[in-house]
């Protein structure tokens, strides 16, 4: 009986320690979450502040009233609408090009090892190279072709970083599809091309769709090439944003409002495609 009592005590003590540990754990998670979410919160809250609240000290952590006038002004007075539309055009066109050209190359590399390790290495090197290093030669070529400040110049130049990315990631998706599927289709009496169209491509659709989303967001977020290759007739969202910070007076409210719009696609990808996000960001090295 005595021994049992001892055991009861010990059990209670263990339960207590376990509880304290888990409280500390969740407290720490909460603190980290707070820190990492704060900048995003600050943008979001800033978008709804009225003009004067920006210059208050201590800063306003919760606006007295939520106003939509920053959004209104960002879209009407600060070129926000053009930025939005141009970003959609450029990112959309680039995504279509990269996926259409990339899918077949990725399939060929993934299934037939076309080009072997050398081509893989070539693609991955391009993927890792800082875009700024291609800016000068591209600028000179585009200038010679009189393509500066057009839509074409952007969605073509974005191929530079998006094509290696798309090909590399989709290659991984095709490698995940067992070759037995095609063997079975060949035995059934289909040609290579039919086997690809009828059985392999449908299987790869989810992977291709997520890759497309990535490519779209990378184009959407792009700033450097847009800064160098376009001037006034084309103006993507990132340029609109940087324009707002460059002048004599920074329009904090409108900037926050437009920033909030700009980061939405990325946030959506993060929240709904978490599994693929890790795979994409590690270039397929971690399969989420």
């Amino acid at each position: 009986m005595n021994r049992e009592m001892l055991n009861r005590d010990e059990l209670a003590r263990k339960k207590r320690i376990k509880m304290i540990l888990s409280i500390i754990r969740f407290l720490l998670i909460g603190i980290f979450l707070l820190i990492f979410m704060f900048p995003v919160y600050w943008i979001a809250i800033g978008a709804f502040k009225v003009e004067g609240e920006f210059y208050n000290f201590p800063p306003v952590f919760w606006p007295s009233q939520f106003s939509f006038e920053n959004f209104e002004r960002a879209f009407t007075m600060f070129n926000g609408t053009k930025g939005l539309v141009d970003s959609l055009i450029v990112a959309g066109a680039n995504t279509v090009i990269v996926i259409c050209f990339g899918v077949l190359l990725a399939y060929s590399m993934g299934r037939f090892k076309t080009g072997g390790d050398n081509l893989s290495f070539f693609v991955i090197s391009l993927l890792f190279a800082p875009p700024v290093i291609s800016a000068i030669p591209l600028f000179m070529i585009f200038r010679t072709l009189s393509m500066l400040d057009t839509y074409r110049v952007l969605y073509l130049s974005y191929i530079l970083f998006n094509m290696p990315f798309g090909v590399w990631i989709m290659k991984g998706f095709f490698e995940d599809i067992p070759p037995g599927i095609e063997h079975a289709a060949l035995l059934d009496g289909y040609s290579r091309w039919q086997a690809f169209r009828k059985y392999v491509l449908p299987l790869a659709v989810p992977g291709i769709a997520v890759t497309a989303l990535f490519v779209f967001i990378f184009s959407w977020n792009e700033f450097l090439f847009a800064l160098i290759f376009t001037r006034s007739s084309v103006e993507t969202l990132t340029i609109t944003l940087s324009g707002m910070i460059g002048g004599h007076q920074i329009h904090w409210g409108e900037l926050s409002a437009l920033s909030l719009v700009a980061i939405l696609p990325g946030i959506i990808l993060t929240l709904f495609f978490q599994k693929y996000l890790v795979r994409g960001l590690t270039f397929g090295a971690v399969k989420g």
Partner: protein, 365 residues
């Protein structure tokens, strides 16, 4: 019956450990051939060469009198079931089975009729509307089998078609295969690593190891007259026992065995007179008896361990460095490390050369 499918001296150089080397065999029309071997033996490579996924480095494949070596997979009219099923995840079970018929542009009515008939034969007819991800492993395997059998092919290739089923289902499917083959009467080549499937199903067994053919023969022959120690230990559970001896002599049907610490002799053997060094004696667990005292045709050993299995006991006996397994009735009792004697049956023992592993009395016909 003529040779329907002939494989002539096929060699496939491939990544190390996966190729096949100078493989030749033939199948008569309507026969059931089982290629038996451990993993890495080249069984699947052989099938892939027959199906046309892999191209031979040299050699020829002749079907019905014509070489098919230079035909593409879809021109060969062979059908195949895969070990990992290789079903199309984006299509229903029905469409999976219908796929070979769709490729041949058959009309919907014929397709529906044929698919339903074959689905019933393999027992998957209740799941036709489902998708591969919604059915069990056994049902996937049946689907793959149905897709393979639904069309009229010259040869059916079956790659470990029941390997992933649980023991009870595997046992049942083995029986079903026999009936399906009888019903369809088609030429089938079946790959397996399980000797039971080979013994139970085959007209002819082809034993492969490391990319080469080791022995070809009817199942009973491969079991009772193994060409070498590899075949002897591949077939049977437990595998054939082997005991190594330094010298042996045979004279007038008396086999004298000389080991490290002991000598024995077996009278009444069918072996011709000979003298040899480094020979293994082979016998199966159910052909010998365990006795307490040395006597005629016995060899001594000690009990390493004993395991009761069902209504029998399997004794593992140490004979010098060798361990052999002997099956006895349940009433035989010996203790751990106790000395015992194995009484051999001179009719059912084999002699193998230690170095080459060859059966000393095996003759190629």
């Amino acid at each position: 019956m003529s040779e329907y499918l002939e494989i002539r001296n096929i060699t496939k150089e491939y990544t190390p450990g996966k190729g096949i080397n100078d493989v030749s065999f033939s199948c008569t029309e309507g026969s059931f051939t089982v290629i038996l071997g451990p993993s890495g033996a080249g069984k699947t490579t052989t099938l892939s060469v027959l199906a046309g996924f892999l191209q031979t480095t040299s050699g020829d494949i002749v079907m019905n009198g014509h070489s098919i070596r230079n035909l593409k997979t879809r021109e060969r009219n062979v059908s195949m079931a895969f070990e990992d099923y290789a079903l199309y995840p984006t299509h229903s079970i029905f469409e999976n089975i219908a796929s070979p018929l769709r490729a041949r542009k058959m009309d919907n009515e014929t397709i529906s009729k044929k698919v339903k008939a074959i689905a019933q034969l393999v027992g998957i007819d209740e799941h036709l509307e489902k998708f591969p991800s919604q059915v069990s492993g056994g049902q996937k395997q049946r689907t793959g089998l149905a897709r393979c059998l639904v069309r009229d092919a010259d040869v059916y290739l079956l790659d470990e078609p029941i390997a992933h089923l649980d023991a009870k289902l595997r046992h049942r499917m083995r029986g079903e295969f026999k009936r399906i083959h009888k019903e369809l009467g088609k030429t089938m080549v079946y790959v397996s690593h399980d000797y039971r499937e080979a013994l139970a199903l085959a007209d002819m067994v082809i034993v492969m190891n490391k990319g080469s053919i080791v022995q070809i023969g009817p199942p009973e022959e491969v079991f009772s007259q193994p060409k070498n120690t590899f075949v002897a230990t591949l077939l049977g559970d437990p595998p054939m026992n082997l005991v190594q001896f330094d010298h042996i002599t045979v004279k007038n049907g008396t086999l004298s065995l000389i080991g490290k610490d002991f000598e024995s002799s077996v009278k009444g053997c069918r072996f011709p007179d000979m003298k040899a060094d480094g020979v293994s004696l082979g016998f199966r667990d159910f052909t010998v008896e365990l006795v307490a005292k040395a006597g005629k045709n016995t060899i001594p050993g000690s009990v390493y361990v004993f395991e009761p299995i069902e209504d029998q006991i399997i004794f593992t006996i140490s004979i010098a460095e060798n361990r052999v397994r002997v099956r006895t009735p349940r009433n035989i009792k010996f203790d751990l490390n106790e000395e015992v004697h194995i009484k051999l049956n001179p009719e059912t023992i084999h002699l193998f050369d230690n170095r080459s592993g060859d059966n000393l009395e095996y003759r190629e016909e």
